[in-house]
């Protein structure tokens, strides 16, 4: 038997938002620790070769088309991962049950603004 459930309004967006949350969680799981370790720990501790983060070198790297695509994957889906979890942190841990629609719009809206900023920076660099 096939049951078709037709959702209306915000509920119809839920599976898509959940898919973005899951994709962002997977991207963050695979890529966030290595970037945090390189930029935040290894650089400050002086473990990197002298020119590893040199301006010209990093600029060349960031201008390579494949690296641009990589940066879009690194930066965009994790924003929606945050948006989804933070939306439910506000409800479940902070106990804010009112204005659910406004909370969702604020969370995903922030992720959308971050997406715009990320794409603009990646394209223009």
């Amino acid at each position: 038997m096939v049951v078709t459930v037709t959702a209306r309004g915000p509920a119809r967006a839920e599976p898509g938002l959940w898919a973005l949350f899951a994709a962002g969680g997977t991207v963050a799981a695979f890529l966030m620790p290595v970037h945090a370790a390189i930029l935040g720990i290894a650089y400050a501790a002086g473990w990197l070769p002298a020119d590893a983060l040199a301006y010209d070198r990093i600029l060349d790297l960031a201008r390579a088309p494949l690296v641009k695509a990589y940066l879009a994957v690194l930066l965009v889906p994790p924003l929606f991962h945050w948006a989804h979890r933070f939306r439910f942190i506000l409800r479940h841990q902070a106990g804010i049950h009112r204005a659910r629609r406004a909370v969702a719009v604020a969370c995903y809206g922030t992720a959308l603004i971050g997406t715009g900023v990320a794409i603009a920076l990646i394209v223009r660099i």
């Binding site: 997977t26 799981a29 290595v34 720990i41 971050g114």
Partner: protein, 133 residues
């Protein structure tokens, strides 16, 4: 079969600190909280790209900030939250996604171990391009 009691939607509200009650609830809250550090990471990476796009002087100032104690503390927190997210996410993925090979269900532990191995390989590749390419 007994019907559930009718409460008219007037169930007593959960106390706000329900998630402090047990270790499992606290771990759930910690997993959710890692997302705040995911946002912090994304914002820092956007600032990195912004500095890079503005030229060598702005980029130099960003590198100066990267060397500061405050940035190191922030990144240490991002790294700790990131590692917790990574390892719990792989366990979670193994629970959510049943993987079959030739019709046989792969044990969850093997799925999580494969993801962890893939993560280490990807991290090594990213580090190589980022630092030594």
């Amino acid at each position: 079969m007994t019907a559930p009691p009718r409460t008219g939607g007037l169930l007593p509200p959960m106390p706000r600190t329900w998630w402090l009650r047990s270790a499992a609830y606290r771990r759930f809250a910690a997993r959710e909280l890692t997302s705040v550090f995911v946002l912090a990471f994304t914002v820092v990476m956007l600032l990195f790209l912004l500095a890079l796009s503005r030229g060598p002087r702005a980029y130099g100032r960003f590198l100066g900030w990267l060397g500061s104690a405050g940035a190191m503390a922030l990144f240490a927190a991002i790294l700790a939250a990131g590692l917790y997210h990574t390892l719990t996410w792989f366990r979670l993925s193994a629970q959510v996604q049943v993987v079959r090979v030739r019709g046989r269900v792969v044990p969850r532990g093997a799925v999580a171990a494969t993801l962890t191995a893939a993560w280490l390989a990807v991290s090594a590749g990213v580090a190589y391009v980022h630092v030594w390419w």
